[in-house]
Every structure is written in C-alpha cells, then in structure tokens.
C-alpha cells in the first residue's frame, strides 16, 4: 500500500455527516413548511430583556466572548444582529464590546447593516460597537467598568468564553441586569448557570439563529445536525454491543510499536527510516488477556500500519537543489 491510510472510516463518516446536513438544507428549502424546533427558554427571554431595557432607558450590552474571528464569533454576532434589530426599533441604546479587532470589523459591518435595513441608520452610533483590548483580563476590567458605569439593563454573553466569564456575569448580576449567556467552552457553562438568568447549553448556541429566524437553510441544517447526532448515537449503541461481544474471547496477540516488537529490524534502519516508521506497528506475543487491540472494531478506529505500509521508494532530487524548507 503506497498511501498512509488516513482512516477510511473517518473519511466516510465525515462525508456522511456532511451529506446529512446538505441534504436536509436542500429538503427544507423545497418544502415550504414550518418544521418543529423544541423550545429554547433562553431565546424566548430575549424580547423581555430588550423590553426591560427600553422601559428603563438603559443600554443592552452584548459581548461575543474573547475568541478570534471564526464561526463562533460570527454566530454570536448574528444572534446580536437579531437583538439589535429589536433594539433599533425601540430606539434602545446598544453596547457591543469586542476583544478582537477582526471580530470588531465584522461587528461594525453587521450592526450597521441592521440599522440600514431597518431604515434607521440615523440611530446608529459607530461608537456603540467598540474594541476594548485583546488582552483577556484587561478586557474583563474594561467591560466591568462599562457595566457598572452605564448600568446596563440587559446583558448577552454569547460565544467563546474562558475564565473571565464569571467576572462579567457576576458584575452584571450585581447591578440587577437580566443576563442571557452561553459558551461553546463547556468549562465555562457551569459558571453561567450559577450566575445568569438564562443559559444556552452547548450547541443551543448554534441552534439559536435557526430558532430565531426560522430561515429554511438554518432549520434544514439543524435537522441535518440532528440526523448526524442520531448517527453518532447509533454508532455508540451498535459499537458498545459489538465491543462487548468481541472482548469476550482471549488472545495473546498484542500490537506494539515496531521499535519494541522487532528490535533486530529496527536496529538496522537508518535515522531517516526510523523517523518515517515511528508510527509503524507489529504483532507480538504476550500474556493471554481479553481481546482488545485485535478486535475488528479497534482496527476500524485505529488502523494498523505495518513497516511496508509506511515505506515508499522515491528518487532523490539532484544534490545542490535540495528542497526549500523554511
């Protein structure tokens, strides 16, 4: 075999998930029927939060975490765009604080767009979307100061959050702001649960835009994700039964690195070959134990690379024109 086996199972599985998502997007777009999405309490509370801000005449604060520019911050900003739409109609002031200049650029663009589409561009204040700093705790200090000084009435903390999450949540709580929070970092979700009024757990954050806008593409994608989840669950359900059966017999065959399994072969290799064959494995006899590494399931997930799989003969470039590396 000439090619490093990149794991056919992995490739097929990812392709399957991608097809699930794309097929459902296609299907929903051509169906023109509202699909069911379960209730997400945190998202239903958005209107209340904006309403309260409007009544009190205080700003709505939105922070998309401290992550760099990626789909998480883009997703957070599209939820914020939805919130801004309502806030713009009521003339409620908004504050969006950013910890990354690239995200700041996108936020400017998206939020201005919202006001423009509503025909309320005169209500848009460029300074309501502001970059503070890209330093984690300086950002925390800056936003805390802003929360306390401007006495925000509602706070939305959605996106990629790290340790600073609790500083934000507790500070906003101390002035009695309604808080809706959600983090893609599971390690921060418990602090949001303890300190905030509503929390989006896990990928409720990603489901939010489908839930709020009911755009067919987003809803379709959400259905596709559900199919993918069922596929993963089925995989685990099937796998643990198969694994239970396959672990019953005993064997004395073990997979070991080539280095340990065949020292006599290893010692004859050149340094270059050793580097190439670092991941190579071979079979060795050992203590009798329940089969683990030679079960079919194990090999499906952990392909076995022999010395032959990992060696390929190639001509060398003429010396002097050695390859350009860094």
């Amino acid at each position: 075999m000439q090619w490093y086996d990149t794991g056919v199972l992995g490739m097929l599985f990812v392709v399957l998930l991608v097809l699930f998502i794309l097929y459902n997007i296609y299907r929903t777009e051509h169906k023109k029927k509202d699909l069911y999405i379960r209730r997400i309490p945190g998202l239903n509370a958005i209107d209340d939060a904006i309403g309260r801000s409007t009544e009190m005449g205080r700003p709505v604060l939105m922070v998309p975490g401290i992550g760099t520019l990626n789909a998480i911050s883009v997703q957070a900003l599209s939820i914020f765009a939805h919130i801004t739409k309502a806030a713009a109609q009521f003339g409620t002031p908004i504050r969006i604080c950013l910890a990354d200049a690239a995200v700041y650029t996108v936020a400017q663009e998206i939020i201005r767009d919202v006001y423009q589409q509503q025909g309320l561009i005169d209500r848009y204040d460029t300074d309501s979307v502001r970059f503070l700093t890209d330093r984690q705790f300086a950002f925390a200090a800056g936003v805390s100061g802003l929360i306390l000084r401007e006495k925000v009435a509602a706070a939305f903390f959605l996106g990629e959050w790290y340790a600073e999450s609790l500083i934000f949540a507790e500070t906003a709580n101390s002035i009695g702001a309604i808080q809706i929070a959600g983090s893609t970092e599971k390690s921060q979700t418990p602090f949001f649960i303890a300190a905030c009024d509503y929390v989006l757990i896990g990928d409720e954050f990603y489901a939010a835009s489908a839930y709020l806008t009911r755009q067919p593409i987003l809803v379709g994608s959400l259905v596709g994700q559900d199919w993918a989840k069922i596929a993963m669950a089925a995989c685990v359900l099937f796998g643990f039964l198969v694994n239970s059966a396959q672990r019953l017999p005993e064997t004395d065959m073990h997979r070991v690195p080539l280095k340990d399994g065949a020292p006599e072969v290893w010692s004859q290799l050149s340094d270059d070959q050793k580097a190439d064959l670092e991941t190579a494995e071979t079979w060795a006899k050992g203590e009798k134990a329940n089969a683990t590494e030679d079960t079919g399931l194990y090999r499906l997930f952990n392909p076995f690379y022999s010395k032959e799989d990992l060696t390929v003969k190639r001509a060398k470039k003429p010396s002097g024109a050695a390859g350009a590396t860094e």
């Binding site: 990812v14 650029t105 100061g145 418990p190 069922i230 685990v236």
Partner: protein, 255 residues
Amino acid sequence: MNSQATLDLFNFVKITCGVLATIGLYSVLYKETKLFRFFEHVFLGLAAGYSLVAVWKDALYTMWWQKMVGHAVDATHQSATAGYWIYAILVPIGFMAYQVFSQKHNWMSRIPIGLIIGLWAGQQVQIWWQTYGPQIYASMLPVWPTTFSSLVKPPVTPDLLPAQIAAINKELYLTQAVNNLIFVVTLLSAFTYFLYSFELKGKFMLGFNKLGRWMLMIGFGAIFGSTVMARFALVIDRMFYIWIEWFQSMHFGGR
C-alpha cells in the same frame, strides 16, 4: 553597570506599583470608584499599547516580515533563508478591511474576513474526525462482564505477584460493566437534550431526556467544584505578593 542599590530600588518601585494596581482593581469589589476607573484606564492603555508592540514583534515580524524578506547568513543566523515575496500580497488584502467605515466600499472589508472564515471552515472538516473519532471509539465501552468470579474488581495490593495483578486486570468485572453501562446511558441521555427537531414523546423518552438534563448538571457541577480550589490558589498568590514580596522588597541589598 547598574549598582545593586539601583536594582533594589527599582524592584521596590516596581512591586509597589504592582501592589497599588492590585488594590486599585480590587476596589471594584466594593464599589466602582475613581480609583478603580483610574487603574482600569491604565490597564486598558497598557494592554492596547502592548498589543501594538506584540503585533509587530510576536506576529508580523516573525510570521510575515522575516518570511517575506528572508535573511542572509550573519551574526544571528547561521543559515540563509529564502524570501517569499508572495507574502506581500497580504498587505492589500488586509487593508481591504479598512474600508469598513466607508459608506460606499464597506463591502470590501468582507474579503479578508471571508478569507479568514473560509480557512476556519475548511479546518472544521479537516479536524472533525481527529477530534471526535477517538471519542466515539472511547464511548463504545464493553458492558458484558468476562468473569463472575468476583462482583467487584479485587483490590490490587503490592504483595501480589505481577502475574496475579495481570490476571486481575485483564478481566471485566460486573461492577465495572455496570459502570460502563452508566457511562453509555449518561452519554446517550445527555445527547437527547441536544435534539432540536424531534418532539420527544412517550414516558420513556421524556424520562430519558430528563435524566440527561440531570446528568448534564452533575457534569457541570463537577467542573464548578474542581475549579473553586484553583481560583482560591490565585487569591492566595496575590496575598503573598502583597504581604510577603512587597515587604521583602523593602530590604534593600539584604536578599
């Protein structure tokens, strides 16, 4: 050459500044005062200024400039590196973002943004299996015990022979199998919480879903509990800084 006395004095000044800044920031726990506001702005100013320094010395200089112009053999570089001129094309692309404030051409800012997002999106496909494949395999735990000789795994004590220990470890005991079943049930029940487009019906599915929510709360609680101690260690470190290091720094020349 700076004398030891100068260095000691500098150290004292430096730590005193740090202590003042710490107290200034801590004051927000009581109330948002002018003291906090002062240090907040010092903090933000320093952070912004430092970003401007770091963006060149840690990012652009090493990642972009040095690669673009390369370097010849000299005192600091033992080997020459070629210059990749194509890196220059990133300047105009990057500066397209600066059109964001323009009324007419603000759409151009989406080009560099779109490129960054595209790279991120492609990476998600690339790393998906690397991240989740091993987790899927690790969740397929065996739930059928290989032996009923003992219900729990016999304790492994140092007085056992290696062969005896191996004989104990190779088996899957009933309690371990039950634990594995709990693992799989926890995983699947928590997973049902994240189904959005299916209406869960029937007593069993609703109960399973509820179980999943509880399991999620146990998981989150465990994170909460394990983090508390780590955070207290930070406060203790700060107290050490204020009470010990600061006072020590006053002993000029005597450390």
